[in-house]
Amino acid sequence: MSIKAEHVNYIYGEGTAFEQYALRDVNFEIEDGQFIGLIGHTGSGKSTLIQHLNGLLRATSGTIYYNGENIYQAGYDMKALRSKVGLVFQYPEHQLFEVDVFSDVCFGPKNQGLPKEEIEARAREALRQVGLEEKLWEQSPFELSGGQKRRVAIAGVLAMQPDVLILDEPTAGLDPKGRDEILDEISALHKEKNMTIILVSHSMEDIAQYADRIMVMNQGEKLFDAPPKEVFRHYKELERIGLAAPQITYIVHHLKEHGVPIDDEITTVEEAKTAILALLGKDNTEK
């Protein structure tokens, strides 16, 4: 059970003056239950890449396998693939259209051709998973706040009960509280349902905290593909392509330069706290 990309190339506007490589020889394999962080500068090809994984875009050349099956083979059921590999786009405004939140979440399972009771049961479950209060279910999705709209959008995909959930910058434009809540809910889905998660984000802090593997895209090519600590070791190269390491990593680097014997591969605030307290001879459990 995995998603595998082999030599995937994608060219925008082939044969016109606008021709441009969006993906160049991308290869990877994502095992079930992984939490992947996908990072890259704007225009690096990450959004193009994720649209390949559920067959919305077709690679100019190369192959994508889902659970060992070539998704480009004749007669492959793309609709079934899209309900297994759920993709949540960045702007909830692009998908909300129904008169109320609940019916909007029902849209996905309805397209799967499920019976009415099943559709509604799934919609209720999905809305609870994203933590949207029940009193909002009958409201128009257009009256909600940004964070609530985002939840409805995620629920709309979750209701299809996918095995893989891809989220394109789910936290963009949210306040810190809304961001943490959404990320915690995604993390819960990963832990409790063993869902494979691919999280596209600009925030290195978020990625470092949740992902167990990071893929870095640059100008259509995959630059790094490794666990967070390893990727952030290359923070100088990341800076060169317009990215960075988490801020806490810079702090521990500075500390180390000033002679503090601290591990400079720390990527989360929590780790840093433990390490610093240990250095001061104190236990983390103390307040």
Binding site: T16, A17, L56, K79, R82, E93, H94, Q95, N111, M160
Partner: protein, 268 residues
């Protein structure tokens, strides 16, 4: 899929036609359209073809790219050609049931088809070589005389340029919305007419909402910069005719005269 619409799209290369004053190109398109309706002989169509092909060559836009614009009118073309082909009275070549294929029908259908194709190709060349802003600037200046009889030319051309400016944005938006709904299992292709119309709702609602939001945002941004219509407003890039434009006008005149003479003097 939806990106295939070339009608009204700008093709960014550097060519004589791209550098030409938009008014010259507008007028040229008008001249070409008039000539198409005057042409009634094979020779006249040959002249029009030469005119069109020279314009295509001068524009440096790949011919393949221009022809793509024809996709939009294939249906219309088929209907009008087949109606003319079979329903024109005259010398019968052969007959199937009530459908008579006549020499006159063949001739009219041929001219009709060519005229439609040339109309689209001719106007595509203009839009492919002229940015929407240039185009509306050109229109505003050419129609400036209407201001005197109370037509708000500037306002109309501003609306036009805004509308044109929004086409690519809305096309892109449509693409994104379609993908977002397809990711939820929406199907825009299969089904009968009623099902297809129904499947448009999840596409049109977000599209309209976004269009209205963009419109209010733009109006606010314009007002924030004290936009108050055309009165006393100067241009950042005023239009000036160059030598190439004057030469082009001479070419237009010669072309029109030739087509006019062919219509009244010669018929094949």
């Amino acid at each position: 899929m939806i990106r295939d619409i070339t009608l009204g799209q700008y093709y960014p290369v550097d060519s004589l036609l791209h550098r030409m004053d938009p008014r010259t190109k507008l007028f040229g398109t008008l001249v070409f359209i008039i000539s198409l309706f005057m042409a009634n002989s094979i020779v006249a169509y040959v002249v029009a073809t030469v005119f069109l092909i020279s314009a295509v060559r001068l524009s440096k836009v790949p011919f393949k790219f221009i022809v793509r614009g024809l996709k939009a009118i294939v249906f219309l073309l088929l209907i009008s050609v087949s109606f003319n082909l079979f329903l024109t009275p005259g010398t019968v070549i052969f007959q199937i049931w009530f459908l008579k294929l006549t020499w006159e029908g063949l001739r009219i259908a041929g001219f009709m088809g060519l005229r439609l194709i040339y109309l689209v190709l001719g106007s595509s060349i203009m839009t492919l070589t002229t940015t929407p802003n240039e185009l509306t600037d050109g229109l505003e200046k050419s129609l400036g005389f209407l201001n005197k009889i109370g037509v708000p030319v500037h306002e109309i051309s501003m609306m036009m340029s805004i509308a044109l400016r929004f086409i690519p944005i809305l096309v892109e938006e449509t693409d994104k919305i379609m993908k977002a709904q397809m990711a939820r299992g929406a199907d825009f292709e299969s089904g009968n007419l009623i099902q297809k119309a129904k499947s448009m709702v999840p596409l049109l609602v977000p599209l309209f909402i976004s269009a209205f939001r963009r419109a209010t945002d733009l109006a606010m941004a314009m007002e924030a910069r004290c936009y108050h219509g055309g009165e006393g407003r100067s241009k950042m890039k005023p239009l000036h005719y160059a030598a190439r434009d004057r030469i082009t006008y001479v070419v237009y005149a010669v072309y029109l005269v030739v087509v006019f003479v062919l219509r009244n003097g010669l018929t094949f």
